[in-house]
């Protein structure tokens, strides 16, 4: 019986050689299919290997965006602060294990007593770590509930930057898929690995937290590294060309990481996450002419160059005019409204994903962008940019914001005894 018991760690060793070969084939095929796209080949280690869990910042923010997402928001259902802290400790241990490619618990999926449910659910057995990152965040409602009650003695530790987002014009938010006291973002190159991680954290949290909503995503819609080619969203446009990149150390300090002195010290080294589920009205978009699509976005669909320019990374010239004498980039174009120049220099680190939740019963694709953006202060960054977009963006005709979330993502887990959010609860 013992020889049948395979640990995930051992399975990884076995899978190692095959994994490298597989990635090579995949990268080659991708380049062929995408023709002139010419993405830099992904290295075997980043596609299937393990991303370090501990560090100054949480992994999963500037880490190269892998292809798959499972994002979950939880309600905390216990009133007992000690149980919440205990869960965060348990989660940290399980997250460190799973991101290293191990079972969620020490016994594992197949080695336990036959009478007991396993302490890992088992669907990731034999799979490599797949670049899994797990990133935790705390919502405003963890500090005070809707009635203003201080739930866990944390009210005076709520950062000012974690202010509820204002209502933007055109918002069609569904409360049941918005908000949450806690969130966990799982990113991986294999959807099964991302789902496995969230499922096991939810299982560990029974009785302490309850899943409020969750979202699967595929096909990253922005790059967080110059090593990555700019991907396309479901409108078929390159997305995230002007994103903050991991290499931009100075910009990250100014725009991404919370600095000492910004307010609550427990957040220093952390970042604020805004999530927006943006449904795309795919069918009407697909009936829109190429010229109009490009005008709405402000870039060409092929190369991603700003209108009036040639290459994707050419600077945007807002003064340029077209042959008809009108501005090459319209006043209501998406790129103009989202640009730092129009938003007091505000920039975001985006790591959104495409989503398709099947069809909506009316024969329409239930699909769009699960937007996620990290930043130092949402009041100065996301709120400023989204206010512009919500008021003026001509693209809004094809978009519906149906879910919204805001989370304070604490700094990284430093050492063995550390756990997610320890500085908040100390």
């Amino acid at each position: 019986m013992t020889e049948n018991r395979v640990s995930r760690r051992r399975a990884i060793g076995l899978a190692g050689a095959a994994g490298v070969a597989g990635v090579g084939v995949a990268a080659g095929t991708g380049a062929l299919l995408r023709g002139t796209f010419d993405p830099k080949p992904t290295s075997a280690s980043s596609a299937s290997g393990a991303v370090p869990f501990r560090g100054e910042h949480q992994a999963g923010i500037t880490t190269e965006v892998p292809d798959r997402l499972h994002f979950v928001a939880f309600d905390v259902i216990t009133k007992d602060r000690a149980r919440l802290v205990e869960l965060l400790r348990d989660w940290t241990v399980a997250a460190a294990r799973m991101t290293a490619g191990q079972d969620a618990g020490v016994v594992g999926a197949v080695n336990g007593a036959p009478e007991a449910p396993p302490d890992d659910t088992g669907e990731a057995l034999g799979l490599p770590p797949s670049g899994l990152t797990l990133t935790v965040g705390f919502g405003p409602t963890l500090f005070r509930d809707a009635d203003g009650r201080d739930r866990f003695g944390l009210a005076d530790r709520r950062p000012a930057a974690l202010a509820e987002l204002p209502r933007f014009p055109g918002d069609a938010l569904q409360p049941e898929i918005s908000g949450g006291d806690l969130c966990v973002q799982a990113c991986a190159n294999d959807p099964q690995v991302a789902v496995h991680a969230i499922r096991n954290l939810a299982r560990l949290g029974m009785g302490v937290v309850s899943v409020r909503w969750s979202q699967l995503g595929f096909g990253r819609t922005s790059s967080t590294s110059r090593e990555q080619a700019t991907p396309r969203n479901l409108f078929g446009f390159k997305d995230g060309t002007a994103n903050l990149k991991a290499e931009d150390t100075d910009l990250l300090r100014d725009h991404l990481w919370v600095q000492p002195g910004d307010g609550q010290e427990w957040m220093a080294g952390g970042s604020y996450l805004v999530t927006r589920k943006i449904r795309m009205i795919i069918e009407t978009w697909d009936r829109t002419s190429l010229g109009e699509q490009e005008e709405l976005v402000g870039r060409t669909k092929g190369s991603g160059a700003p209108l009036g320019q040639h290459d994707e990374f050419d600077p945007i010239d807002f003064k340029a005019t077209g042959p008809d004498g009108k501005p090459a980039i319209a006043e209501t174009a998406h790129v103009r409204l989202a640009h730092p120049d129009l938003n007091n220099g505000a920039r975001l680190l985006r790591r959104g994903y495409n989503y398709v939740d099947g069809s909506d019963g009316l024969g329409r694709l239930d699909a769009g962008l699960f937007f996620m953006a990290y930043q130092r202060d949402p009041r100065k960054q996301f709120v400023s940019i989204q206010t512009q977009l919500a008021r003026h963006d001509a693209l809004n005709e094809y978009l519906r914001h149906v879910s919204s979330g805001l989370f304070a993502c604490p700094p990284g887990v430093r050492d063995q005894g550390d756990f997610w959010g320890r500085a908040l609860f100390d």
């Binding site: 007593a113 009478e115 449910p117 309850s210």
Partner: protein, 378 residues
């Protein structure tokens, strides 16, 4: 169905030893009976007078007379509301006897007029020589205790199903509708035991869509459908007779079945799984929407199985007992918000938020309960 696995475990002999120990324990305690006549219990709608509150260890007999207007129940509880013995369904004007084996210790007696709530409680002290239970005897005691519970439920199941069937055959739709969730209470409390008899379970409790090709749709849900959709049960006489026949058969089999402690542990978990899948969604009683009656009964059945295992769990995993107690308390509190008179709100009267709260409470309890089987088996 889902029972295959633990039946196999039981057969493999984990419990054969416990079963033998159980027989031994019974023989021993039967030898030193408490002596004296039955203890009279005068139950009314507002009082529960127990003739003696101090008795000797051994077999104790209670004679329960109901002088009230409501149907009542009488229980003897050990710590943690572990049921040592009970009589169900004592209708007004009738007397019933309860034989219960009690080792030395402190207990509580309870009458439950209207069959709801914690009942009217009183203390009962049992003194005398009773050897301390060994581990195996504790497991044997658990199955004995739970088997007494099953027997009490099957008795009431037969009574209430008979009343329900009689109402259907008499064409008394209003009365049949009122009796439907009541009769099912006794069924739902012991459902994992009923599921052991895989051929009878679908005949009695099967829903239309789960029946295999060529199988007739019979049982509670067939009558439920007719009662609530057309209100015409004039042709349902044979279906009603068949239900009663099937219930009689399963009652006889359930009472004869030797259960294992693992049956109890897994049964307690399965009852909550039943709640989490069929009752939360309202799919079980889709015509009557009386799912909360079943929900409550499933929880009570789960609690009874855990209560029977309590001495073993207290010794082997005291922290688990604490979590289980807290979990049951939360479920009870959450569910109590939806009481309506002597019964429950209908499933379609609950909001999605209500159902999520109930679902969270069940998940929070089911998680520690899933650990019980491994504790019992070790």
């Amino acid at each position: 169905m889902r029972t295959t696995r633990f039946l196999a475990l039981a057969a493999a002999g984990v419990l054969a030893g416990a079963g033998l120990a159980g027989c031994g324990a019974e023989d021993d305690s039967a030898g030193d009976a408490a002596g004296g006549g039955p203890i009279t219990v005068k139950a009314s709608d507002t009082a529960c007078e127990v003739g003696s509150t101090e008795v000797g260890a051994g077999t104790v007999v209670f004679n329960v007379t109901n002088s009230g207007a409501k149907v009542t129940e009488f229980y003897v509880y050990a710590a943690g509301d572990r049921v040592m013995g009970e009589v169900e369904n004592v209708v007004p004007g009738l007397s019933r006897e309860l034989h219960v084996e009690l080792p030395a210790g402190t207990y509580e007696t309870a009458c439950k007029p209207g069959m709801i709530g914690k009942g009217i409680r009183g203390a009962l002290t049992v003194s005398g020589s009773a050897a301390p239970l060994t581990d195996d005897a504790a497991l044997a005691g658990a199955t004995d205790s739970y088997q007494r519970y099953v027997q009490s439920q099957t008795g009431a199941l037969l009574d209430k199903t008979t009343e329900f069937v009689t109402a259907v055959k008499a064409g008394d739709v209003a009365r049949a509708k009122a009796l439907f969730p009541v009769a099912r209470t006794y069924w739902e409390r012991i459902e994992p035991v009923a599921e052991i008899f895989g051929d009878l379970d679908p005949k009695i409790d099967g829903r239309e869509e789960v029946l295999e090709e060529g199988m007739e749709f019979t049982g509670f849900h067939r009558l439920e459908k007719d009662l609530w959709t057309t209100g015409d049960v004039s042709k349902d006489g044979p279906i009603a007779d068949r239900l009663l026949t099937d219930v009689k058969e399963i009652v006889a089999k359930a009472n004869a079945e030797k259960l294992s402690p693992l049956n109890l542990a897994n049964g307690a978990k399965e009852l909550l799984d039943e709640v989490a899948t069929g009752k939360i969604t309202g799919e079980e009683d889709r015509y009557s929407h009386t799912d909360l009656w079943d929900f409550n009964a499933n929880v009570e059945g789960s609690k009874a199985a855990i209560a029977a295992l309590r001495p073993v769990l207290t010794e082997r995993a005291p922290d688990l007992v604490t979590s289980l107690d807290a979990g049951f308390a939360t479920v009870d509190t959450t569910l109590a918000e939806h009481r309506a008179g002597d019964g429950w709100k209908l499933h379609n009267e609950l909001s999605k938020a209500d159902l999520k709260d109930l679902s969270d409470a069940i998940n929070a309890l089911a998680e520690p309960i899933s650990k019980v089987a491994a504790v019992v088996a070790k």
